[in-house]
């Protein structure tokens, strides 16, 4: 087993920041979807507008997936910090 060294406080703080970043990515996904929907409606051609709209929809979903994954990774980071701390504090009592 490789050496493990951890500052649990940095993990919980980093986890919160990463989750917040995931939330921002979700917000970006919503913004993107709205902006592209408006653009698609303004193109003036059903084919080209549809292509732009499809692009926005798929990208918004991808960004939402990225946001979700990032937020969950942040949650895991916080959980890891708590697990390290709980192990340190709770499992080695006399």
């Amino acid at each position: 087993m490789p050496r493990i060294q951890v500052d649990t406080e940095s993990l919980t703080a980093g986890g919160a920041q990463q989750s917040a970043a995931g939330g921002q990515a979700l917000e970006a996904a919503g913004e993107l979807e709205a902006a592209i929907a408006a653009a698609a409606a303004a193109v003036g051609d059903a084919g080209a507008g549809g292509a732009v709209g499809d692009w926005g929809t798929t990208w918004a979903r991808s960004l939402a997936a990225l946001g979700d994954a990032t937020a969950r990774t942040g949650g895991n980071l916080s959980a890891a910090g708590m697990a390290y701390r709980d192990t340190d504090e709770g499992q080695m009592r006399y």
Binding site: Q24, A28, E31, G44, A65, A69, L77
Partner: protein
């Protein structure tokens, strides 16, 4: 939805440039948000005090998420550039189409007025002719009464004077009516020309938007980290590394078209006609394109499977736009086309900045320069020269077809017929009996109002004043003045009226007069003139040189360099996409 208004075959392209620009702005703001995400994730990694196997896995996962956020931000900015560029094309095209409609309406009014004036003038001439005949008859009656005259009958003499005065008056009215008719016909011709130009401007605007829409679709479907299925990014391995679970993508439908064809077909039948036509040519444009770049740069940049293209959608779009505009030349000269389009000399010499700067979308140029070409790039001039050559071919085919269906042997074999391209282009027939020429055209279903009717004297005079060319005498001149014979040759009438429009003629220009005359005309006007005869095309350049069977690169200005000259009014977003990408 803005646009859509239509008049006489001219339609203002639909779309809302303002809303598109606003959307592009929102995309840029969203890109900023993603940059912030990337910054936060960097901060997370930098602040962690954690070593161990799980730490390494987290760092890898977070680093990938960071990269995705950052890459997405860049892609959104590029997409914003594309949308902004399209908005600029659309705005300029709408403006041009609206102006074209106003001009067309004005021209139509003038056409109606001129036609009414002609009708009135013809009616007045008939009336004056009748008065002349009446007055002459009256005089005849008086003079035949010789007894009265010999007897010095005062009443008879007065009647004779009155009839003579009436005839003179009627002749003045006739001359005035004839002059009014001539002026009205000139106005009619000018109005029809204005109408044709307005129509062409409308078509140019429509085509520019069609090409730009092709680019928009290409950007949407072939550029960036585009997910291959809803909800998933393009690269499954990338997604897995970022911790994103992908659903299984649906099986793709069978499609034997190549990628470019699919993109162009997405805009439907309105896609560039050059592409559609080129596809029908044996060994067509696609084969030409695939074989034309030894270096493979152009092809690589059209290839959506190249990851670099995902990062530079604007550059890919540029290639599409240029391919659409210059497709015809590509099929004719694949090697030269490739080098010209990518400004091969710059590329070979490593002048990447100039190379990128010269890649201006022809769609934008066509609108912003209004065809004047003052800010034209090499590719735009090349495309224009290509079109001019194609127009000359069409003009020649038209002239030949008109002559072939002429009902009399004289017109079918002995006359020379010249024509401009297009159904509404001018027609000229050698000789000076215009009423007969018009009648012949009517008989074969051609519009006789398109017939050019300058007299030999007018042609000689204008060749003298405009081209500084003296029409030489010919044995057939008598009993007419010297130079009459050469002055009735067909092609000169068309070229003197509109030297910019290529002319097709059923006989080669005569070496005694027409050939040197056209050369002088081109030089005097500093205007390239293109003729197409049975011997092939001849380019009379504005600098005085004459080139047989020219290629597009032989036209004035095609090979001139324009380093640093960008599109001016259309500059900005799309340029960012190109320059940002680099070659």
């Amino acid at each position: 939805m803005a646009g859509g208004e239509s008049y006489g075959g001219i339609t203002v392209p639909k779309g809302e440039p303002g809303a598109l620009e606003a959307s592009a702005g929102r995309l840029v703001a969203t890109a900023g948000l993603l940059q912030s995400v990337s910054g936060h994730l960097n901060g997370v990694l930098g602040a962690l005090s954690w070593f161990g196997p799980a730490s390494a896995q987290h760092a890898l996962l977070t680093g990938t998420q960071n990269l995705m956020a950052s890459t997405s931000s860049t892609a959104l900015i590029q997409q914003a550039s594309v949308i902004n560029g399209y908005a600029e094309v659309l705005q300029a095209a709408q403006r041009q189409a609206r102006r074209a409609i106003e001009r067309a309406k004005d021209a139509d009014k003038r056409i109606d007025q001129a036609e009414e004036d002609i009708r009135q003038a013809v009616q007045d001439q008939a009336s004056a002719q009748a008065r002349i005949v009446g007055a002459q008859a009256a005089q005849m009656r008086v003079f035949t009464s010789a007894v009265d005259l010999l007897a010095g009958n005062a009443a008879a003499a007065a009647a004779a004077d009155l009839a003579a005065a009436e005839e003179a008056d009627a002749r003045r009215d006739l001359a005035a009516a004839e002059e009014r008719e001539r002026q009205a016909r000139r106005r009619l011709e000018q109005a029809r020309e204005d109408r044709r130009e307005a129509q062409q401007d409308g078509l140019d605007a429509e085509e520019a938007v069609t090409i730009a829409r092709t680019g928009l679709i290409a950007a949407a479907q072939g550029a960036g980290l585009l997910p291959t299925q809803p909800g998933g990014p393009a690269n499954p391995a990338f997604a897995a590394a970022a911790g994103i679970a992908l659903p299984k993508p649906p099986e793709p439908e069978e499609d034997d078209r190549n990628w470019i064809e699919r993109r162009l077909d997405d805009v439907g039948t309105a896609a560039s006609w050059t592409w559609d036509q080129a596809k029908q040519v044996p060994g067509g444009v696609w084969e030409g394109v695939t074989g034309m770049y030894e270096g493979g740069k152009f092809l690589v940049e059209l290839n959506p499977t190249n990851p670099m293209n995902w990062m530079n959608p604007g550059r890919t779009i540029e290639r599409y736009q240029q391919l659409g505009a210059a497709g015809q030349f590509a099929w004719e000269n694949p090697g030269e086309f490739g080098k010209a389009l990518i400004n091969y000399e710059d590329l070979a010499a490593g002048r990447y900045g100039e190379w990128a700067g010269n890649l201006v979308p022809d769609a934008i140029l066509a609108v912003t320069t209004g065809g004047a070409g003052t800010a034209a790039t090499r590719s735009a001039r090349m495309a224009k020269a290509t079109n001019t050559l194609a127009d000359a071919d069409r003009a020649f085919v038209r002239a030949t077809e008109i002559q072939a269906k002429m009902p009399s042997r004289d017109f079918r074999l002995d006359k020379t017929i010249a024509a401009q391209p297009g159904d509404r282009g001018g027609i000229s027939i050698s000789g000076e009996i215009f009423s007969e020429q018009g009648r012949m055209l009517d008989r074969v279903g051609e519009d006789s109002s398109l017939l050019k009717t300058q007299s030999s004297a007018e042609v000689r005079e204008r060749m003298h004043t405009v081209a500084k060319h003296e029409t030489p005498p010919h044995p057939f001149d008598a009993p007419n003045p010297d130079g009459w014979y050469y002055g009735v040759h067909a092609e000169l009438r068309l070229l003197l009226d509109d030297p910019k429009v290529p002319v097709g003629v059923t006989r080669p220009p005569c070496p005694q007069n027409c050939d040197p005359g056209i050369q002088s005309l081109a030089k005097s006007l500093e205007q390239d003139i293109l003729m197409r005869s049975p011997q092939g095309p001849t380019l009379y350049r504005g600098d005085g040189t004459v080139i047989s069977n020219p290629s597009p690169k032989d036209f004035s200005g095609v090979n001139s360099r324009w380093p640093g000259v960008l599109w001016g009014a259309g500059g900005g977003a799309a340029g960012l996409a190109v320059s940002g990408g680099g070659p």
